[in-house]
């Protein structure tokens, strides 16, 4: 029986709570997260709901739950889209090498120069702010990360003897990639998926903090912080809850990723 590493079960637990409360928010929240109740305006935790109420009396706890759905939805979608494209480029580069590899390296260097906020500023000019802009901006940033990881991992598998044997038996590159390469690098990709989703949540929070994320009134953690900034002197509790939610979500996903890596590759445990 392998012992489950601390970071895995802690990360797993936090991630489970994050996903659970995000999904739950679609069906139930203590209050309607977009319903104003001016009587509760800026009331502190306990006086109105578990975590107090915001500047127009919305229930903060409910907004945190619903904001989790927004954050997670955008981050996961962006990671899936960017990750798939990146992985596709990466495994193709590993299989083909040569010109394709060079070009994909260049594309990566270009994409690398565009962190999510920069892409969002550019895309914001084109599409205006919103969920789609966020997803594309964050997704674009995921591409080079997944390309690098999947290419490196795939190249390692390609150099194995049984792949050479498969090549000798006349199997094409695409078939080998699907049959042998992808299953063998899936663990690494899963680890990266967890970690990048965490980064995606951070990026989404940043975008909605700047007002470039999903449009109101849909609750989002970043926008809650932006609103809270105005009332930082009078209602400091509004600053704390969304920040803690973001930090916990990212921490949980990072720990989950690290834990999965330790589990799949114990050799790296000490050094990582």
């Amino acid at each position: 029986m392998k012992r489950i590493p601390l970071n895995l079960w802690l990360g797993g637990l936090i991630s489970f709570l994050l996903v659970g409360s995000a999904i739950l928010s679609r069906f139930w929240t203590p209050e309607d997260p977009i319903k104003m109740n001016i009587l509760n305006r800026l009331k502190g935790p306990g006086d109105a709901g578990l975590l107090g109420a915001d500047q127009i009396g919305r229930d903060v706890f409910s907004m945190i739950m619903a904001g989790g759905w927004t954050s997670l939805g955008i981050a996961v979608t962006a990671t899936i889209v960017g990750g798939s494209i990146g992985t596709l480029i990466g495994v193709t580069a590993a299989a083909k090498s040569g010109a394709f590899e060079k070009v994909s390296g260049w594309v990566n260097s270009v994409l690398f120069a565009f962190p999510p906020i920069l892409s969002a500023i550019l895309l914001g000019a084109l599409l205006g702010p919103g969920g789609l802009t966020s997803i594309i901006a964050i997704g674009v940033f995921m591409i080079p990360v997944f390309t690098r990881i999947s290419r490196g991992a795939a190249m390692q598998i390609w150099s194995r003897d049984y792949i050479k044997a498969a090549k000798m038996s006349g199997k094409g590159q695409a078939l080998i990639t699907v049959e042998h390469i992808l299953p063998n690098i899936s663990a690494q990709l899963l680890v990266q998926f967890a970690i990048q989703t965490g980064l995606g949540i951070l990026a989404e929070a940043g975008l909605s903090f700047l007002g470039m994320g999903i449009a109101p009134p849909t609750p989002s953690w970043g926008r809650m912080l932006a609103d809270a900034q105005t009332y930082i002197g009078t209602a400091p509790h509004l600053v704390l809850a969304p920040g803690i939610a973001i930090a916990l979500a990212v921490l949980g996903l990072n720990l989950l990723g690290d834990g999965l890596r330790d589990l799949s590759d114990p050799r790296r445990k000490q050094a990582s």
């Binding site: 500023i121 914001g124 050094a271």
Partner: protein, 317 residues
């Protein structure tokens, strides 16, 4: 291939990347809705007035010509005039850089000051209490958004204790002390996530290098544990740390946009953000290109740093 040729090839590669990047930026901004001339004149303007302004701005020329003239302008420093302010974009950017560059350098300096001792300390004795503390710092530092750190700093250190201004920038003309004190909190907010990432990398690198034979050779000469650590292990562990420093630049820039926003600093991030909301597309276009240039230049510098840190990359066989 000689190292000089190699460096030139690399620089040429980066230049090509920049060209592609700039073209991409140009096309995206071109495709954006809203005609600059209409924005400048307002919706009630006469059609022929708009047309005249378009001609004056050179917007009626073919796209590729306009792209070429923009890139030419980048080299001569003539970036055109802001649609909203009418001031030259180059001046606007230079003004704002006077805040953003010191801010990011300050933050990087802080991040290194925190992460290097912490990472080495943790890596020297993996599994010890100090290692645990450093790891906890790293995990939290990576997870916490820097703009939230900024808000907390304002909440506790500015509003609570009144030690620092809560935002704004007096300008360098108001005296160094005032300007620096306005940058301290933003720099801390920007530095903490960086420090967390660098601590992790430093720790891992130190653990790996500490097992190398040459560290044992150093110990066999009679060097104490700490001397061998700082004179032999650490210099050889710096390579991955410098790599990570380069990889972090895009995050640093993103972070600067957010942190400047929190502390209402008149930096380049605020400029980009304001320009976007005012649809001052020529400013957006140039600022984004400038960010890309910074990322690429820093990467070139990092490449050069490698050669200093690792003599194996300096000479060729």
């Amino acid at each position: 291939m000689t190292p000089a040729l190699k460096h030139m090839r690399r620089a040429a590669g980066y230049l090509a990347i920049l060209l592609v990047t700039s073209f991409l930026i140009f096309v995206l901004i071109e495709a954006a809705p809203g005609d600059p001339a209409e924005i400048m004149l307002g919706t009630s303007a006469q059609l022929d007035t708009v047309a005249a302004l378009r001609a004056e701005l050179g917007l009626d020329r073919p796209m590729l010509v306009r792209y070429a003239s923009w890139i030419g302008g980048v080299f001569t420093g003539d970036l055109g005039a802001s649609y909203t302010y009418g001031t030259p974009v180059g001046e606007l950017i230079a003004d704002r850089l006077a805040v953003t560059v010191p801010l990011t350098l300050f933050a990087t300096f802080l991040a290194i000051c925190i992460s290097l001792p912490l990472g080495v300390w943790a890596g020297a004795r993996p599994g010890a209490v100090t290692d645990g503390l450093a790891t906890i710092f790293a995990q939290f530092g990576i997870a916490v958004p820097n703009f939230w750190i900024g808000l907390l700093l304002i909440l506790f250190l500015s509003l609570g204790l009144g030690w620092f201004p809560a935002g704004g920038f007096p300008g360098w003309g108001e005296g160094l002390g005032k300007a620096v004190s306005a940058l301290i909190l933003p720099a801390i907010a920007l530095a903490i996530p960086q420090a967390a990432v660098l601590t992790r990398v430093t720790r891992a690198a130190v653990i790996e290098v500490a097992h190398e034979d040459f560290v044992r050779t150093a110990r066999a000469k009679g060097l104490g544990r700490n001397r061998a650590l700082w004179l032999h292990t650490v210099p050889n562990a710096l390579l991955p740390v410098v790599t990570m420093l380069g990889l972090q630049i895009p995050f640093l820039i993103s972070g600067a946009v957010l942190v400047e926003n929190v502390f209402t600093l008149p930096g380049i991030g605020t400029l980009a953000y304001q320009a976007l909301s005012q649809r001052d597309l020529i400013v957006v276009q140039n600022v984004v290109l400038m960010f890309a240039i910074i990322v690429i230049v820093v990467n070139l510098i990092v490449d050069g740093l490698y050669a200093i840190l690792d003599p194996r990359l300096r000479t060729h066989k």
